[in-house]
Amino acid sequence: MINDTYSFTVAIPLIVFFSFLIIGLGFGRLKPMVSGIFGTMALLAVTALSYFTAYRYFFVDGMMNGSFQKFIAYDALWMSFTDSLQVRMGVLLDPISVMMLVVISTVSLMVHIYSLEYMKHEEGFSRYYSFLSLFTFSMMGLVLSSNIFQIYIFWELVGLSSYLLIGHYYERPSAVAASKKAFIVTRFADFGFLIGILMLSGITGTFDFLKITDPGGSALTQGSAVGFMGLSVMTWSLLLVFAGAAGKSAMFPLHIWLPDAMEGPTPVSALIHAATMVVAGVYLVARLFTVYVLAAPDALITIGYIGTFTSLFAAVIACTQFDIKRVLAFSTISQIGLMMGGLGVSGYTGQEGLGYTASMFHLFTHAMFKALLFLCAGAVIHAVHTNEMTGMGGLRKYMPVTNFAFLIGCLAIAGVPPLSGFFSKDEILTAALEKDKLLFAVQYAVAGLTAFYMFRLYYSIFWNSDRQYHSKPHESPFAMLFALIFLSAASIVSGFIPFSRLVTPDLKPFDSHIHWAVAIPAIAIAAAGILIATLMYRKESGLPAKTAAAFGGLYRAAYRKFYIDEIYIFITKNVIFRYISAPLAWFDRNVVDNAMNSIAALTNLTSSRIKGLQSGQLQQYAYVMVTGVIIVVLAALYFMNA
């Protein structure tokens, strides 16, 4: 329904957009610090607006007749092709979009503040801030989109700004390669998304989310009847949409870009590649959740399996990596897998919707603690000037605040009560247990692995023995610490938000409580993971090497990320390039080009033959004209007399 009292929300993305324009156009003319502070101020305003919107929506007038309403806060006709094919631009407010507003603005604001110090001495400070604004704008536009066409536009804009920010250090070949990889892989996935959009809107006859996801509407029942290769057309279209979501959210086997994306500045990794953009896929599935759960349960359970498998897969790799940002990247993939898993096991009504609620809850808490972990990692890298775990150790003495913040992040992600990760993970596990035992078992194992690799990371950085440092590591400046402290606080308290009363698939709140039957084993396995990590990594010992040797091939495979990159390279180079691209290139070069060149050559030849007529000799022209007139008159006389 339309609600004009919320029309101020259209300002939320627009403020950031103007901030992008001003910083971007003022490039070079603004002093770097001025543009940084300007961007931060714009974001502060946006954060305040977002919090106000969330407060009003959740606690004042979002609820009507016992369920939350979907508001169209702003709506404009953008392109009108025919009466039935119209593209609108709008702002859609519902629990998940409002929640995402809070997540994006909070993390983005923290990253803005943090970067004021972190990026201070870097080249391209203004450029960095303008792209941060662009990204925040695109992400907010994405979550507020009122139709699937609009979401696709912002989806691509988000991909673009991610590309720009990964390639921030464009002098480094590795950063350039990483940004290209991220762009191409997600773009490849978006191809599926686009086809999915076309199919979906072809089936339902509309782009509009409100109409598509209306549980009683006609849109859902259409398309289920027509089948293709054993599945309904609806299922196919939703699977294709999920392909796009999988690309952005780094689901197996499209996850390969995310670890490389760590070439970007660390705050960017915290914002884009941990908290916001990579969960856009989860958000998209949640946005279309009604359709998935009611019209294509097959697609939904596929998502559940892919997510859970990715989760395990990434957790195993995370245990073997030495680059701290890559460990965090694989951890992110793993956690997003859990969210997808949560969506996959969810039902629609009442308590059955726990998986959906849990997934959104985990998205929220994960955004907080993963951003915290990344920013801490940034602080550490800032202090010791290396990404490698082997170059760190004993930092707790030099960086007490960072140490403490990192510990909170690790405890939260490991699922230790009463920190936020415990609550959300508990709900996901409970939902999985009710629906599918296999998924539960895998996710349970992932919980243990998560605790293990996070504490491996923690101990290797902050405990262990000292290394040879170029200069004595020092605690970060205040702006960075402020962000760390704020996010630590968020990581601690956000678990107490009663999500089941706010975000549910059918918009009707339900009660949920901690399921101790699941929680206690989960705590136990987390504790076990932490314990093993403590034994192996707290002090320097030969234990890790021995364990690695014991696992043998598995360890080596995990260390090489299960050779997925190599497989991709093999497929692209040896199969696609050799058997598809090379013949195409030959065809292009020899047939298409030659045809074009011949036409051009023919034209050239003709023109050089006839250009003699354009001699520039005035009298020649006049002579031709006079003769022509005489001939015409003669002809006229002849034919008129005849």
Binding site: Q614, Q617, Q619, V626
Partner: protein
């Protein structure tokens, strides 16, 4: 008075004068002499206008006024043409029409 002179005489005179002008335009290489040929052509046309006016429509003055306007146009044309010729002369130090072919192809 004029009935003793047939209109054919005037028209033939004007036609011959016209084609003498055309001939001059075709063979003269000097731009100013070409311009003079154009004046000949215009005058031939004037005679034509005047003759028709006088012989067939003596109650009207259309041919007369046309001739008048042709004279005005010719004056403008000559002024502009001479300005162009002189500025061309300043540039390439000649007013030979065959040498002024820089703009070809």
């Amino acid at each position: 008075m004029i009935e003793k002179i047939g209109i054919e005489n005037l028209l033939i005179l004007s036609a011959l004068m016209f084609f003498i002008g055309v001939y001059g335009f075709l063979v003269r290489k000097n731009l100013i002499t070409m311009l003079m040929s154009v004046e000949l052509i215009l005058n031939a046309v004037n005679i034509n206008f005047v003759a028709f006016n006088r012989y067939f429509y003596p109650e009207k003055l259309q041919g007369h006024f046309f001739a008048l306007f042709v004279i005005a146009v010719a004056a403008t044309e000559v002024a502009v043409a001479i300005a162009i010729i002189i500025s061309l002369y300043r540039k390439i130090r000649t007013i030979d029409v065959e040498k002024a072919s820089e703009m070809k192809y």
